[in-house]
């Protein structure tokens, strides 16, 4: 039984994610529609088009898998899998509650960060192998973003790891009597931005950028291979949003309600935030994104580590002074930015 249990959870997790993805897609259509004063899908399945994404999935399954003549066939074919398999592996290491986890790895955080960078690799592979200029531009934007945002993402997590002095995700959740976003607002903000870059969601979806690069790296893909990129994106969304909840929002902790309910309340809140930020903020330019990554995110993440380390060593009860210092810095930075904008 002890050996079978992880497999049952793994299967359950995958089924849960796949059913969720279908409704995530529908919810994104509806939210995007509402924000720009449209209805979104209304026809399929009568009530507010709730079966729209199911119909989309069936369409993808039935479509022909077109491989253009001038592509590098081998790399073109395996690129979607290079992106898809690691993000599924990520969802296996996430503790939804203290019991509901497939495997609590000793290196949990690093496992997830290491695997999440394969998304970019698959974009580079797909974009380059397509032999298409838009695809190629998308691939190179993905490469630039991987180099610029891998470090801030890892370093913002390092701050949390220093607080709880473990890499185990379970240990990080158990350690949070106060949720980490209140202790490390700088790390919280850096992770929030780096996560959206990693997920390639607007306003940071420069490798896709449908209004300028058509579909970027995925421009030559169709049918199931294209669907695999899309589904991989949602698996990545699931994995990194869960990681965000675990690292900064206290995982399954919360009063009155059962653990699993609290986890998913927070998780869907993160999803809603991402869905709204996607449609309400204009896309940044590539040079702005690079400048933000190297000049703001990386120094901010390093500053977070520096302050945290200094507080842990110098102050006996470091959590409150640490939180006050970081909040002061965030408010000062916002104030300066406001003056710069004026």
């Amino acid at each position: 039984m002890a050996l079978v249990w992880p497999f049952i959870i793994a299967l359950g997790v995958i089924i849960a994610i796949l059913t969720n993805i279908v409704f995530f897609m529908w919810a994104e259509f509806k939210i995007a529609g509402r924000v720009v004063d449209r209805y979104g899908p209304m026809e399929t399945g009568r009530f507010h088009g709730w079966l729209q994404s199911v119909a989309d999935v069936i369409k993808f399954l039935g479509k022909e898998d077109i491989i253009p003549a001038n592509v590098d066939r081998l790399i073109f074919k395996i690129a979607p899998f290079v992106g898809f398999v690691p993000v599924v592996m990520i969802t296996m290491a996430i503790p939804y509650t203290a019991k509901l986890i497939v495997r609590d790895l000793d290196i949990g955080v690093f496992y997830i960060v290491a695997l999440s960078s394969f998304t970019f690799i698959s974009m580079i592979m797909g974009g380059w192998a397509s032999g298409n200029r838009f695809g190629f531009l998308g691939a190179f934007r993905a490469a630039g973003q991987l180099l610029a945002y891998e470090l801030p993402l890892g370093l913002s997590i390092a701050g949390v790891v220093m607080l709880s002095s473990t890499l185990r995700l379970m240990g990080i959740v158990e350690d949070q009597t106060v949720w980490n976003f209140a202790i490390q607002p700088i790390g919280f903000l850096v992770f929030l931005v780096a996560m959206q870059v990693e997920l390639q969601r607007s306003p940071f979806d420069l490798a896709v950028a449908e209004s300028e690069l058509v579909a970027g790296y995925a421009v030559e893909y169709s049918g199931m291979r294209f669907a695999l990129f899309q589904v991989g994106e949602f698996f990545g969304l699931w994995g990194l949003s869960s990681l965000f909840v675990i690292l900064f929002l206290g995982g399954w902790h919360g009063p009155f309600l059962p653990d699993i309910v609290w986890f998913f309340i927070k998780f869907y809140a993160v999803f809603l935030f991402l869905a709204f930020s996607r449609v309400s903020v204009p896309r940044v330019r590539p040079d702005q994104l690079m400048a933000l990554g190297w000049k703001v995110m990386l120094p901010a993440a390093l500053l977070n580590i520096l302050i945290t380390a200094a507080m842990i060593i110098l102050v006996p009860h470091y959590k409150i002074p640490l939180a006050l210092t970081e909040f002061a810095i965030v408010i000062a930075a916002l104030f300066l930015m406001r003056r710069a904008v004026k």
Partner: protein, 168 residues
């Protein structure tokens, strides 16, 4: 034959195939992607040896490094398949190349063969060292090599900035 041994030989076979593909391929992009594949295989061997932290680091570091290599290989060598052509990947000085690489190969082989290694089964049976233990040993016993490596990388970083900044 335990599961570990079978997995080891399987991974090793794929790894050797990948490594040979890297050096024999005429297509530089395929070689770079195969390089990533080989690095993942090495991470697999680390996992077999219960060195999970090292495996994660291997993937984390080389995923970024491979991207850098992609960018540089395309900028420096160009795409071999493109109509404009790129830099030829064939080396004209075959004998010196053979001597240098052969000498390096023999040195590494003798160094590896000269060590007494525990068997894969034995290593897999050992308790995995915790990340905390690795951290403690790096910052106590091996703190000097660690600092030297850090200093070396810093020197390289500054060197790159100096070289790149000179053109302006």
């Amino acid at each position: 034959m335990t599961g570990q041994t079978i997995a080891f030989y399987l991974i090793a076979a794929i790894l050797v195939f990948g490594a040979l593909y890297i050096v024999t391929s005429k297509n530089i992009m395929r070689a770079v992607f195969m390089h990533l594949f080989a690095m993942v295989m090495i991470a697999g061997i680390y996992v077999l040896l219960s060195a999970e932290f090292l495996a994660a680091m291997q993937i984390l570091v080389y995923a970024g490094a491979v991207t850098t290599m992609i960018v540089f290989s395309l900028m420096l060598a160009g795409n071999q398949d493109s109509p404009t052509g790129g830099v030829s990947l064939d080396n004209k000085k075959k004998l010196p190349a053979l001597l240098v690489s052969g000498g390096l190969f023999l040195t590494v082989v003798f160094m590896i063969a000269g060590q007494k290694w525990p068997s894969v089964e034995k290593a897999a049976g050992l308790a995995a060292p915790s990340v905390a233990a690795i951290g403690r040993i790096i910052f106590s016993r091996y703190v000097l090599p660690f600092e030297v490596i850090g200093f070396l990388l810093l020197a390289a970083l500054i060197g790159v900035i100096v070289v790149a900044g000179r053109e302006e």
